[in-house]
Amino acid sequence: MTNYKKYFSFFRLQFNMELQYRVAAVSGVVTQILWGFMECLAFRAFQESDFSAYPMAFSATVSYIWLREAFLAAFTTWNADGEIFDSIMNGGIAYELCRPVSVYNMWFSKTAAGRIARAGLRCIPLLAIAFILPRPFRLMLPAGPQHFILFAITLLLGLGVTVAFCMFTYILAFFTISPQGLRMIFTSMVDFLSGAIMPLPFMPERVRKIVELLPFAGMFDVPLRIYSGDLAGADMLRGIGLQCFWLIVLVVCGKALCRAAERRIVVQGG
């Protein structure tokens, strides 16, 4: 039990730190609302262009967009913890390695805390506004109480998958001195495959079938579509199962890789 206490304090520390940036959060919320609104308008233009080709209920798309904006800070991989990258780049990692904690667990809890704090701060005003917007662009209530509970659970699982994936990008920085370019490629790939750019049902059938099996679908697509009831029944169970499967695989592989990285680490003076 005491073992987990220290990771919880890392979590709390990071959480408090993120809460300091309140002004940034307010301006971020304004940006995100405008952004989401533009996207709703674009999807509507497509729907009006060809009703029969639209693959989901329009209200489900709108909910998807607003929930994505609300929890974006928790799920984007591009703003992965800069501090951790810095510590790897500038040698601060040496101090971290001296501590009697597992680097993987420490970073995992720090990253998760940063994301929960950032998203927690932003999602409340965002959701409040999205719930009172005029009709076609309003965020609707969840399809039912069981949908809401499953949404909450899958959202947490999705966060786990996202953080576990971010851990890979940190570990990558051990192996290359300048991880920027590779990181950019990774994150742009994830953006697309996770459904951050568009809900997966908008992809062509064949592509979608493959993308749904990848770990990234669990980040945005699964929880956000469960909320509106767009993802239900056997497909939903499969989605949740895949989330759990990938979470375990990513954490186990990440830990193994992290240990390997720690063993061959060279701190270059400084």
Partner: protein, 274 residues
């Protein structure tokens, strides 16, 4: 040189241009010290922007058209906006990253030097790594031209050039405006990003798909339609009004406002104290 000797105004401009290119050559040389990192960044940006194309491709192959625009037409519009933005970020990098320049006190140093602040900012922060995005936009543009049924005339060719120049200046103007805000706030304001990054992202579709109200906002408040919707109508042969092709000139008026805001901000600048 002979003119320069006679006219001090010309001499000043001449030395300014020389200094600008000297800055760029320094930036180039220092970037080339880290070749692997540079090429990875270029490749990263190149691939990054494929996301957008793939998204547009998937959407338009599903729906066939959006408000009457085909894939090729959207691609043409998208690539021009993308190129505008990439060029603006490349040239106006100093304005785009102005927050950190102010915060680290770098701007104080700039003010001490005997040359204009804008020239120094533009020169020293030339973002050569944006070349990936520019290359990608050029590739997309060529493909867009090949698949879109544009009936090329001299006037339409000039319109494309005007759209590129006007758009680049428009985005640079927004970066300048944001930098002008930074004089007062020190902290970067994320909300202003919607004017630049947001416009780049959502401007991939011709603006009229967003509805009449949005069109009006993007004409009278933020002059996006001047470099996107109106000249595009002429380019795609959807209107007989040839003068739509000249609308990008309107950006000049906007730039004057941005410059005035910058001057105003600079006069009220009181260092970040670092």
């Amino acid at each position: 040189m002979i003119i320069a000797e006679r006219n001090p105004m010309f001499a000043k401009i001449n030395s300014g241009i020389k200094l600008y290119f000297h800055y760029i050559s320094i930036v180039l040389r220092s970037t080339m010290q880290y070749k692997a990192s540079f090429f990875l960044m270029v490749a990263g940006r190149f691939i990054l922007s494929f996301n957008g194309i793939l998204g547009v491709y998937f959407m338009l192959s599903r729906f066939g058209q959006v408000k009457g625009y085909t894939f090729g037409e959207v691609l043409l519009c998208f690539s021009i906006i993308q190129m505008d933005f990439a060029l603006a970020e490349c040239i106006g990098g100093g304005f785009a990253t102005f927050t950190s320049i102010i915060r680290q006190g770098e701007f104080d140093r700039i003010l001490l030097r005997p040359h204009g602040a804008i020239l120094q900012l533009l020169g020293s922060k030339f973002r050569i790594d944006r070349i990936g995005l520019i290359l990608q936009a050029i590739a997309m543009f060529v493909y867009g031209i090949a698949v879109s049924p544009v009936d090329w005339t001299f006037g339409r060719g000039m319109t494309v050039i005007l759209m590129l120049v006007g758009g680049t200046l428009l985005f640079t103007g927004f970066f300048l405006l944001r930098a002008a805000f930074t004089f007062f706030t020190i902290e970067g304001i994320e909300a202003v990003n919607i004017l630049t990054y947001g416009a780049k992202e959502h401007g991939k579709y011709p603006l009229d798909i967003y509805g009449k109200r949005m069109m009006r906002i993007c004409t009278y408040i933020l002059p996006y339609t001047l470099i996107q919707y109106y000249p595009l109508q002429y380019l795609l042969g959807r209107t007989q009004r040839w003068y739509y092709g000249l609308y990008p000139f309107g950006v000049a008026g906007f730039l004057v406002i941005c410059y005035a805001a910058w001057r105003f901000g600079m006069r009220h600048y009181q260092s970040a104290g670092s």
